[in-house]
């Protein structure tokens, strides 16, 4: 039947034909995209969304002293950290550590990143690889390295003592100073990578143009180079901040138990006191802190036109 009817069908205008074809292609494309996205989405669902939901749910449970988790819905787990000055202290310390490490890390990484971003040498690739090579070693190993260097009888103290510059060893471990030094070095590769990719608007011609208009080297840097680097610096800061307030190993090892931040507190609650609901509540608080910082970051990048 259809075979007979086909020739009799009125000829549709060509444009409409093409429109339909386009829509069909679009539909097919969308299906292809979805199909390709599916494995990733499923992975995220299983490994991220579900555990996150589970953690949020857990934070409303009641933790009994013997490690038993009482299924309920209570805000006690939140009331305790939000009313206890100790947890305010820990949260503030965590925040402060994140900001300090972020700022110091950006300051020490900036010259390296700027050099690598500008380099036109054939060794550039190798140099970048070297700059990020420390990532090949685990943070645990590097933290132990810093303990050896910073310890009471470590490299720094014995050198300074041997030179007669100090009488009593400097206290560089088991406190925030040691943790900060360790974290700054450990996160430098991340900061450098984030900066190199964030310096996209910087070009040698802009610096040359500023110079030709009478700007001294210093003025070129403060008026052109630095402002154009800001988006990259901000991204690097955010990354290091987030990494350092969520890190556990370095504050635990270099802090030697005397540095308490949210991450070490969560660890203690989870594995020491077996108070999972409370640990979950602290984790949610940490997440909210992340969220706030990222919101501020987005405001800032919009403002500076990154």
């Amino acid at each position: 039947m259809t075979v007979l009817e086909a020739p009799a069908a009125p000829e549709r205008p060509r444009a409409q034909d093409e429109g339909q074809l386009e829509r069909a292609t679009e539909r097919r494309n969308r299906r292809t995209y979805l199909a390709l996205l599916l494995p990733g989405l499923l992975g995220l669902l299983v490994s991220f969304v579900f555990p996150l939901a589970y953690m949020v749910r857990m934070s409303f449970n009641q933790g009994a002293p013997d490690g038993v988790i009482v299924e309920t819905f209570t805000l006690d787990t939140y009331i305790q950290p939000l009313t206890d000055p100790y947890y305010w202290r820990v949260t503030l310390d965590t925040f402060q550590m994140g900001v300090t490490v972020g700022i110091l890390c950006v300051i020490v990484s900036y010259p390296v990143a700027l050099f690598l971003a500008r380099s036109t040498s054939k060794w550039r690739g190798l140099l970048i690889a070297i700059a990020i090579a420390p990532l090949l070693t685990s943070a645990v190993v590097r933290t132990y390295g810093w303990m050896v260097i910073l310890g009471t009888n470590g490299l720094i103290n014995s050198s300074l003592g041997g030179l007669g510059l100090i009488d009593t060893p400097l206290k560089l471990t088991n406190n925030m100073t040691g943790v900060t030094i360790g974290l700054v070095e450990i996160f430098m590769p991340y900061a450098i990578l984030a900066m190199i990719s964030g310096f996209g608007r910087l070009s040698p011609q802009l610096e040359e143009a500023a110079g030709s208009l009478g700007a001294s080297k210093f003025k070129v840097f403060t008026r052109v180079t630095l402002p154009l680097c800001l988006p990259g610096l901000l991204t690097a800061f955010l990354l290091v901040f987030v990494l350092s307030i969520s890190t556990f190993i370095t504050p635990r090892l270099l802090g030697g138990g005397s540095v308490q931040v949210l991450a070490t507190e969560i660890y203690d609650q989870t594995t020491g006191l077996l108070n999972w609901p409370f640990a979950a509540a602290l984790s949610v608080i940490l997440l909210v802190l992340f969220g706030l910082i990222i919101a501020v970051y987005q405001r800032l990048t919009k403002k500076i036109g990154g």
Binding site: G214, A215, V224
Partner: protein
């Protein structure tokens, strides 16, 4: 003669000891208020020369003198030049006014004066209404004008333009050409202009320096480099040209007002023709340069004296003109005809070529074998 605004003496740049120099003992003098085009193919050293004048690159040897003062090693920010970059290099974190004001700010000009001069500069490039815009909101042509305003607002000792039109589309390029030239003439800014586009150079420049392999092949007015090319390279690079190897006979004894002599020359396989060239070329071999549009093409014999008979091998129609390639003996000659409503020539048709002695120019440099193809 008054002192030149800019003199370049034996300027040399070598990027590496084992490479040929990018710029090789270049000498040039630029008069106050002139626009000089540095014209040549890519890699000829024109941009390197400009960057050395700007102070963005250190010369290996030689010196640069502006207003009688040697500035060869003066840092870029102390040279007081205005430069327009190929990519415009507008500061993306500043708006249009801030971009234009930058040079004045660096010179610590008062806020009030800055404002007035920025407004005047923007009016000059007809963009006075866009002062508060962000640079990325502007079109290519507008960005180009802002870059020009930014360079000119500081009243630079020299205006340096590095292929400023190469990022614009063809139509806009012609508009900007006229505009840059008229702004340059109004401000009387002595200007160096790097380009690889011969039309741009011929249209805009007071003087053209034709560069090749780090050397200036010829420095002269647009008519000089077009009508009286000194070398095969210049004749070939600027406009189109037919080259014929010629043995120069005796001078005819006639000379034109410029003191050039008329000769009888023998072209292998084609015959004996009249030509013009500088004095004293008799007895040696030289190349004869004839521009395609100076060749008279006729489709009928007998229209011109002693015409060369040939066959049309290629016809290319461009609307107002018709470019034809005519085979004469073992030579292929390129010619141009104006189109008319009459019959268009076809491939295989007979064509008759002739030219006036005034239009056949003998290159002063001796002919080089193997460089005869056009």
């Amino acid at each position: 003669m008054t002192e030149p605004k800019l003199s370049i003496v034996d300027l040399t740049k070598r990027y590496a000891a084992d490479l040929d120099p990018a710029v090789d003992r270049l000498n040039m003098e630029v008069e106050e208020g002139h626009l000089v085009a540095l014209l040549g193919p890519s890699g000829c050293g024109k941009t390197t020369t400009l960057r050395m004048v700007a102070g963005l690159m250190d010369p290996t040897a030689g010196s640069i003198v502006v207003d009688g003062k040697e500035i060869t090693h003066t840092p870029v920010n102390k040279r007081g030049m205005g430069m327009v970059f190929q990519s415009y290099a507008l500061f993306p974190h500043m708006n249009v006014e801030q971009n234009v004001a930058f040079g004045l700010e660096m010179r610590q000009v008062s806020k009030a004066e800055q404002k007035a001069r920025v407004a005047a500069a923007l009016d000059m490039v007809q963009l006075g209404h866009l002062g508060k815009r962000q640079t990325k909101e502007l079109s290519g042509g507008q960005q180009q004008r802002i870059a020009l305003a930014r360079a000119l607002v500081v009243e630079p000792t020299l205006l340096l333009l590095d292929e400023p039109l190469s990022n614009l589309d063809a139509k806009l390029r012609e508009t900007m050409r006229t505009e840059i030239r008229s702004i340059q003439q109004r401000t009387r800014a002595t200007t160096l202009f790097v380009t690889h586009d011969q039309d741009e150079a011929l249209d805009m420049a007071d003087r053209i320096a034709v560069m090749n392999g780090g050397l200036i092949e010829q420095f002269g007015s647009p008519t000089e480099v077009y009508e009286r090319p000194r070398t095969h390279f210049v004749a070939n690079f600027i406009g189109q040209a037919n080259f014929l190897a010629a043995r120069v006979g005796a001078e005819t004894g006639r000379a034109n007002l410029a003191g050039e002599s008329y000769y009888k020359v023998d072209v292998d396989g084609l015959g004996r023709f009249g030509a013009i060239g500088s004095a004293g070329l008799s007895g040696s071999s030289h190349e004869l340069v004839i521009r395609p549009h100076r060749l008279n093409v006729s489709l009928h014999p007998g229209a011109a004296q002693a015409p060369l008979a040939g066959t049309i091998e290629r016809v290319s129609y461009t609307g107002d003109a018709l470019a034809v390639a005519v085979r004469v003996g073992d030579q292929q000659l390129h010619a141009q005809m104006l189109t008319s409503s009459g019959d268009l020539p076809r491939i295989g048709d007979a064509a008759y070529l002739s030219w006036a002695a005034d239009d056949a120019y003998l290159l002063p440099a001796a002919a080089q074998p193997g460089r005869l193809a056009a």
